[in-house]
Symmetry: C2
Subunit: 339 residues, 2 copies
Amino acid sequence: MTSEHTDAHAPTLEAVAALAGVSRATVSRVVNGSPKVTAEVTETVNKAIADLNYVPNRAARSLASRKTQVVALVVPESTAKVFADPFFASIVQGVALHLADTEYTLNMVISSELNPDKTRRYLMGGNVDGALVVSHHSGDHSYAQLGSSLPIVFGGRPLSDAEHNSFFVDVDNVSGSRGATEHLIARGRRNIALITGPQDMPAGVDRLVGWRQALEAHGLDTSLIEYGDFSPLSGMKAMRRLLERGVPIDGLFATNDQMAAGAYSAILESGRSIPGDIAVVGYDDDYFGLTATPPLTTVHQPSVGLGETMAQVLVKRIAGEPVERVTLLPTELVVRQST
Amino acid sequence: MTSEHTDAHAPTLEAVAALAGVSRATVSRVVNGSPKVTAEVTETVNKAIADLNYVPNRAARSLASRKTQVVALVVPESTAKVFADPFFASIVQGVALHLADTEYTLNMVISSELNPDKTRRYLMGGNVDGALVVSHHSGDHSYAQLGSSLPIVFGGRPLSDAEHNSFFVDVDNVSGSRGATEHLIARGRRNIALITGPQDMPAGVDRLVGWRQALEAHGLDTSLIEYGDFSPLSGMKAMRRLLERGVPIDGLFATNDQMAAGAYSAILESGRSIPGDIAVVGYDDDYFGLTATPPLTTVHQPSVGLGETMAQVLVKRIAGEPVERVTLLPTELVVRQST
DNA sequence: CTGAAAGCGCTAACAG
DNA sequence: CTGTTAGCGCTTTCAG
């Protein structure tokens, strides 16, 4: 069942040079857009290129120029397993879309946790000009060390600020959460609870900070906190604990929609109404928000934009252009019927 | 804000040869696992490689061997826009996972519909050893022509069987649908309606065929058909039309979960119950199935497996090994409370 | 502004 | 089994 592949020798730079009646060096200059070539000659060469349907050979080009024109997108295997996470998928999409407009090619590599050296070697083996590292919401900068020998841009801020040297772009979790909470306040709520995620994840920490900032700015109580693990079940349990405290609660900010989903159940089973008794805001704007009853007010993150920005920052770094070490993208509050 | 990158000349094959006291050719042989090298020499060389932390340069290797060790994953831009589609995301995941175990590297390219030639040129420019083409459930084989000069494997069967030469792997829609319908029959249903998708999409056609096969095998009526466009709204409308026919209906097979969702509404609004009056089965096993009331019985597709298989088939083709031109993956019926 | 010459790092016959 | 010898196709000084 194997098929033949006509190995019709692709035209080389040399062939173009011959047809155009110039030297290979000149063709190379034209191909690379060198400014010092007569318009006339440039035209002749371009015509020859078109006629021959010439496409430069990347390998040869890289070898000679010592540049690969490739950037890697590193995805830890654990993240890949949950690849269907729309947030992550959108990041990849953004990266790919931005890169499509550049000279760079996207190399997706799944780094196995079992054999992280394989990836390290690949990255350091001169196979790529730079790398993008995304790790499922978690800010894992374990590749940060490579940052000193290869331009790397991370998706998500590092957990510790000690990483005072890695470049990253992240969603502005603090401001997004502050906005969500302020929305609750604007709706007249005064006893606003928080169900947040693990404090060993940047998203968990930052979203708590935003909530607290908003509350403090209005002189409101910040003691209504419970922790979950971003799963629906944990959200339900956290909400129950909150309700059991027996203190008044008229607003809830759950730091992701999944936990908000769980909280919905707990609120409803306690006989309370949404948003009548308790107004709730989520975070992530995933599918749950739309299908929930009532539809959930939530914080939308610019996931595609995150990917695009990462790619953009990396390309600039590779080009040696100055770029901010940290880029924070704004979120958008999507107001629906739960508030 | 730019940072320095120590351009510590990566060790070359030559350096390894020197350290090991052999020729470059021998080192090359060891690196490429040639069988004709003394165990002793192999060891010495490997030690030198380890000591120097040598990593072969891909560009040089490709240039000399005329192989790129790269396979492209082509994603039409329209598909990329809906990248968050979990089915598609899983395919990418599968591809990446399988490739991670091979010598191949994954190049993701988004092909713009506006400029399809850019992609064609890239593929034909000797930049990749093979390509994987996925187009959102649609069986678009517009790159089929390239198949004669580059190994290509498609995800999803082509719409027309005229494409009697392209290699593809697909989910076995016919058998999946037949199974879904037989399940309804086994549950004692005899008046089984169908809401299917556009007949210009392989999935739309094949799922109808499976339903019909099951019904005919049991001598049941196959006239209860209505068409939708895979959207929830179209499913709702189709169901209403079905109900308006005024004939008995005790089972429904909707060819995707989204349309099943719409059908749910129509059934419920008509005062009927699920599965009491009408048992329903969907297809896709997307998130709707789980959150629906009652949870939806549906057909699960091996999306990750699809990606893995595509990669596997492509790698074999590149290696010149014989492979089936078409590979159909089995589906699995997930039985929940709607039947 | 353009050509000539010298490799980039590695593989691949071909000898030995 | 191992070394020698040529390049793979392109970029890049360095002259002219």
